[in-house]
């Protein structure tokens, strides 16, 4: 108890050091991002164009939202949600189904996101009540979910004359309309985890579940909220995906997993839980989304993107592992 109290006493100073660490991460990532842009401009001055801006911001839309969902899981100590792209696809399929049923837009959006949330609830039941490792659960439900989608839907086509298709190509305040959900979610997540009591509970559970439990926080409730929350965010990505992809297939989400995990780890989210900044995540997504475009300007094929993202992931995970070992040794 005395240890707990002393930990509680130390919270303000810990928060301060964490904030400065997040700021440092943001500045480093921003520096690397700007460096990439500068060398791309030196290589070819036409890199700074409206088309490049469009390509990068469109690249950010889906990866950004999924990364926020994944960041939510990581920061809360859920390790990783390997089925987050299935949440996205459930929502995409349901978006088309509800559209074909003639649902109005708000009902369609809420309905699709809730369907994805139901999948998250299923994940959380397996994690919380059956006490199975979240990584194993989400790996299994990711495969099983894809299989079920294949059996139930096979594929769905989006009407090119629908608002869903318009949403995937239109602009709002000079940014792609589909970019705004990611931007707003980033701001929302930042304030939620930094200033709300409920948000800080997630950080507490992720950082030290035993202490959090001793402080009266329900671990079960938080774990359920984590996986449902991540799936709901995946559901938002699903609506964007439906706008981007006129033919939705159950295997279409596989390409997002690597950049999403790379973005989260690169942003300094600890895979051990309890730490991470959603503002840093935004910069990380921006940087990773610029790489494939820059590669093409350098005359390299965008196929190199996967290699580079994988390489970045290895470096970022190594740094995180080093940080964890160092913290334990302290």
């Amino acid at each position: 108890m005395s240890r707990l109290l002393s930990n509680r006493f130390k919270v303000p100073s810990l928060r301060k050091s964490a904030d400065s660490e997040y700021l440092a991460t943001i500045l480093v990532l921003l520096g690397v991002w700007i460096f990439l842009i500068v060398i791309s401009v030196i290589n070819r001055s036409d890199f700074l164009s409206r088309a490049t801006f469009g390509a990068i911001t469109f690249n950010m839309c889906i990866i950004g939202v999924l990364a926020i969902g994944q960041g939510f899981v990581v920061i809360s100590g859920g390790i990783l949600d390997l089925s987050i792209t299935v949440s996205m696809l459930i929502s995409s399929f349901m978006t088309v189904v509800f559209y074909e049923l003639g649902w109005n837009t708000p009902a369609l959006i809420i309905g699709s996101i809730l369907c994805a949330g139901a999948f998250g609830l299923f994940n959380s039941i397996l994690v919380v009540w059956l006490k199975i490792n979240p990584l194993i659960v989400t790996l299994a439900t990711g495969f099983a979910g894809g299989g079920v989608l294949l059996i139930v839907f096979d594929r769905k086509l989006v009407d090119p004359k629908s608002w869903i298709a318009d949403f995937g190509t239109s602009y709002l305040f000079r940014f792609p309309t589909a970019w705004w959900p990611m931007a707003l979610l980033t701001i929302g997540a930042h304030f939620f985890f930094k200033y709300s009591r409920f948000g800080r509970h997630f950080l507490a559970v992720g950082g030290n579940p035993l202490s959090a439990k001793a402080m009266g926080i329900s671990l079960k409730r938080m774990r359920v909220s984590t996986f449902v929350g991540a799936a709901l965010i995946g559901g938002i990505a699903g609506i964007i995906f439906a706008g981007f992809t006129p033919e939705i297939r159950p295997n279409a989400g596989t390409y997002y997993m690597l950049p999403v995990i790379a973005a989260v780890v690169l942003a300094g989210f600890s895979l051990a839980g309890g730490r991470g900044s959603f503002l840093a995540l935004f910069v990380s997504v921006g940087f990773l989304s610029t790489i494939p475009t820059a590669l093409v300007f350098f005359g390299l094929k965008s196929i190199w993107e996967t290699f580079i993202q994988g390489f970045i992931l290895i470096i970022a995970v190594s740094i995180d592992a080093y940080r964890i070992v160092k913290a334990r040794g302290r």
């Binding site: 070819r44 036409d46 164009s49 409206r50 088309a51 490049t52 469009g54 390509a55 469109f58 690249n59 294949l150 059996i151 096979d154 594929r155 086509l157 989006v158 009407d159 090119p160 995937g168 190509t169 792609p176 981007f244 992809t245 006129p246 033919e247 297939r249 279409a252 989400g253 390409y255 997002y256 494939p292 475009t293 590669l295 093409v296 300007f297 094929k301 965008s302 196929i303």
Partner: protein, 350 residues
């Protein structure tokens, strides 16, 4: 009627009955030809590649008085191997095979070769099996030429960029289809500069081809008239969407392959056409080889995609023409009624 006359009639009748019975008895002595089909198990596709049976093979076998036996490989390697044992047990005279898990094909081939069962394989080549598949090069060239005509008509053969959405993982199929489209396009517009052709990995999927195309368009900011060719419809629709995402000043048009996204009322407005393969009707072509095998005149083995036993004729259709072609369920029903025809002969616009 006199007794003599009546005896004579009876004798003739008995001999006639014998005359009828003897050939029948001889026919049952020789084993009846048994056609077996190992279905692919791909959801959403009808016929031999799909999940719900092959009505064309069944109808063709029935019309010839053959026995028929069908199993599904369920897109699963162990199931496909197990099915090979069943085929041997069933003493099949010939097998139509589509196995989407070709890594076990050598094992299956050994079992079937031991039992001396000839195999006709669809789209996936295996040494010693008759290869039946779409004429990919012909499909590519036909699609490319059709797009070339549009480019000539609208842009006087001067596009700013020709995006080649490859699926390199598909190997020779990609080279023949996407490469064939480039050749077909050049056959109509031979003077398009080499530098205007930009090849990239689209993997035959919108989720891959769209972001890759966005990056190429960004790296070519002055290009506004964009032509797109690719491995399949999805690989072409991705770049068309990418052009619309980057701005209204782009004018893009593409011609796909496989006809997957050209039918119905949800066709991309810039997808001007596609090449139909009528996968569900493949088995109508297989009887060319099967009939010869049944007559004990098995044709010379041609087992490669570049050296096929039977080539399925591709059918290029514009988006408007595609609207007049009924959906695969209707098509396969019609063909099953008369399996002597092919879907190409019934539905391909002249």
């Amino acid at each position: 009627m006199s007794l003599k006359k009546s005896m004579a009639i009876k004798t003739v009748a008995i001999f006639s009955a014998f005359a009828l019975i003897i050939p029948t008895t001889n026919a049952t002595a020789a084993p009846k030809f048994k056609l077996c089909v190992a279905l692919g198990g791909i959801p959403g596709i009808l016929g031999a590649l799909g999940t719900s049976g092959d009505p064309i093979a069944k109808a063709g076998a029935k019309a010839r008085g053959w026995d028929y036996y069908e199993v599904s490989n369920k897109l699963d390697a162990p199931t496909a191997v197990k099915n090979a044992d069943l085929i041997v047990q069933q003493k099949c005279s010939a097998l139509i095979q589509f196995n989407g898990r070709p890594e076990v094909n050598p094992t299956i081939a050994k079992k079937l070769a031991k039992a001396k069962i000839p195999v006709i394989t669809y789209d996936i080549a295996q040494p010693g099996w008759y290869f039946l598949g779409i004429d990919n090069l012909g499909a590519g060239k036909a699609g490319g030429a059709a797009l070339g005509k549009l480019i000539k008509e609208k842009w006087n053969c001067q596009p700013d960029l020709v995006l080649e959405s490859h699926g390199y993982g598909a190997g020779i199929v990609d080279s023949m289809r996407t490469g064939g489209m480039v050749d077909g396009l050049k056959s109509v517009c031979p003077d398009i500069d080499k530098s205007k052709f930009k090849a990239f990995e689209g993997n035959g999927e919108i989720a891959v081809s769209q972001p890759a195309a966005r990056d190429i368009l960004a790296a070519n900011p002055t290009a506004k008239k964009i032509a797109v060719v690719g491995l399949n419809d999805a690989g072409v629709v991705g770049p068309l969407l990418a052009a619309r995402q980057l701005g209204s000043d782009y004018e893009a048009m593409g011609w796909g392959q496989d006809g997957n996204l050209i039918a119905g009322d949800k066709v991309d407005p810039d997808l001007k056409g596609s090449v139909l393969y009528f996968l569900e009707g493949y088995s109508a072509y297989a009887f060319e080889v099967l009939d010869a095998i049944a007559k004990k005149q098995a044709p010379k083995m041609r087992d490669g995609a570049v050296n096929p036993a039977v080539l399925v004729k591709p059918c290029p259709v514009s988006a408007a023409q595609a609207q007049n072609i009924p959906i695969d369920k209707v098509r396969i029903k019609k063909l099953a009624k008369d399996p002597s025809k092919t879907l190409y002969s019934i539905y391909c616009p002249k």
